[in-house]
């Protein structure tokens, strides 16, 4: 049986993003802003078990005025 081994990663569409900075206020644990106000995600992908992070990721996604954020599923190959 295939073991479900997924990781989640918050990502931004850089073309849509206009640097409103709402994401950094709604999800300060996931997002920091660069010197021009565009988001950086300092930590790598996180596991679906981390409910707190998923909650804040969804807050950031819903709060983005340009709808530029997506929560991406990365499937990890386990050997």
């Amino acid at each position: 049986m295939k073991k479900r081994n997924e990781l989640l990663q918050l990502r931004v569409n850089p073309i849509l993003c206009d640097g409103f900075g709402h994401c950094a206020e709604l999800a300060p644990d996931l997002v920091i802003l660069d010197e021009w106000g565009y988001p950086i995600f300092p930590d790598g992908p996180f596991s679906p078990g981390e409910k707190e992070r998923i909650r804040s990721a969804h807050l950031a996604i819903r709060g983005c005025p340009r709808q530029a954020l997506v929560l991406e599923r990365l499937s990890v190959d386990t050997k």
Partner: protein, 426 residues
């Protein structure tokens, strides 16, 4: 055609006559009894990689499009060549346009496309003329095979990026698109598009005539075949040469008539890397250049002589690249001008130079990988390699001792802006 004789794609009288070959001349020039029936298989055998800069295996790209289920597919010939230091595609189309069109037609048939778009910047009137004439000539001869059209997007730097080109064909905007996964199938409407550089198409034209094993006779085991290079900088006449991959760099410089003991060489393009002058004996292929973090890229070789100033050259290029940004993504639109400003402080050895060096390191980290296309990454790569290659110079500039050439060094061909108002970011 003998497999070991260069030039290959530039072969024939066209280069000397400064006149493109007619179809009849083309047929005698590249006469061959062999015509492959399975082009994709020959491409895999040949080991041809894309000549536009990324060096992605052409076979895999073609197979990806061939596997798509769609009634309509397109093949695009990318002759946009936004690099001011590169002239290879224009030289090729002004010499052997039919070879490029042959390759595009063969590739279109192999992947199941019925329309080939040749994209040439609208400023390059002569090249457009050559290609339109060649297409007309072919259509008069036979009505079979894929249809050709010429597209003329405005010739800005990012317009040559493949997603920007497809965006133009789809929606008349030369802006790069955001792609989540790579390799990504680009589409016009719902229909998949195969984009390849003009030079790659010319090599495909030869592979179709002579086969993949013939192609492998030149080059190294990993980097097969020949490639076009545009040599500029410290050279009397900027030249386009065809060289076998794996040729030592100093040999290329010698043949082109350039300075053979330079201070540094800019390789790949304006989003490429500086290579220190001590390494001119390096073979010109990606595997050997990777040791110095460099790559063949789009075939640009810009020679900086000993009397030039590498920091000033990097500044000039960075400034121009910042102005060429599509300004879609914040890190690129704001970050590149900020980097250019920092470099200006170092170049002029101002009091802020030491702080500017620190800032540049941080900004490079912050900008890299955060654009929709690779434009900002290229500039970061260029500045980083400048920091490595010109380290002693940078230290001297930081102490307030600008070199004698800092104000006057003008080797990299950077287009002058028509007016100050063309500069958008200041």
């Amino acid at each position: 055609m003998n497999s070991r004789i260069l030039p290959r794609v530039l072969a024939g009288p066209g280069l000397l006559d400064r006149r493109p070959l007619t179809y009849a001349q083309h047929e005698t020039n590249f006469a061959s009894s062999f015509r492959t029936t399975n082009l994709l298989q020959e491409l895999e055998k040949s080991g041809l990689t894309g000549r536009g800069g990324a060096a992605f295996p052409t076979y895999r790209k073609a197979q990806l499009i061939a596997d798509q289920h769609s009634r309509v597919k397109y093949v695009v010939v990318n002759a946009m060549e936004g690099e001011p230091a590169a002239h290879k595609d224009h030289t090729l189309l002004a010499t052997n346009p039919h070879l490029v069109l042959d390759g595009a037609a063969a590739l279109a048939t192999a992947v199941g496309a019925r329309l080939v778009s040749v994209c040439i910047p609208r400023e390059a009137a002569a090249t457009i003329n050559h290609v339109e004439r060649a297409i007309h000539e072919r259509q008069r001869r036979s009505n079979t095979g894929p249809k050709f059209e010429v597209q003329t997007p405005p010739g800005r730097y990012v317009a040559g990026e493949e997603s920007a080109l497809v965006h133009w064909l789809d929606d008349n905007e030369t802006l790069p698109q955001f792609r989540v996964v790579r390799p990504h199938v680009l589409r016009i409407g719902r229909h998949p598009v195969l984009v390849d550089n003009a030079e790659t198409h010319a090599h495909i034209g030869l592979i179709q005539r002579y086969g993949g094993d013939w192609f492998r006779d030149l080059g190294t085991a990993d980097a097969t075949g020949s490639t076009l290079v545009s040599v500029s900088g410290a050279i009397r006449n900027p030249a386009v040469l065809e060289v076998a991959l794996g040729t030592p760099l100093h040999h290329i410089l010698e043949t082109a008539g350039a300075d053979t003991s330079p201070q540094a060489i800019l390789l790949g393009g304006y989003g490429g890397t500086w290579l220190h002058g001590d390494h001119v004996n390096t073979p010109y292929d990606n595997a050997s250049l990777a040791k110095f973090g460099a790559s063949v890229g789009a075939g640009v070789i810009m020679v900086l002589p000993k009397q030039g100033c590498g920091i000033t050259e990097t500044l000039r290029i960075t400034k121009w690249m910042a102005n060429e940004s599509a300004r879609q993504c914040g890190p690129c639109a704001f970050g590149l001008p900020a980097m250019a400003e920092d470099l200006a402080h170092i170049s002029s050895a101002s009091r802020d130079a030491v702080a500017a060096i620190q800032r540049l390191y941080g900004r490079g980290q912050a900008i890299e990988g955060r654009g929709a296309c690779r434009h900002p990454d290229g500039v970061v790569r260029l500045v980083r390699s400048a920091f490595e290659v010109f380290q002693p110079d940078i230290n001297r500039h930081a102490k307030g001792q600008a070199c004698a050439a800092a104000a006057t060094s003008r080797y990299a061909p950077v287009p002058r802006l028509a007016s100050e108002s063309d500069l958008v970011w200041e």
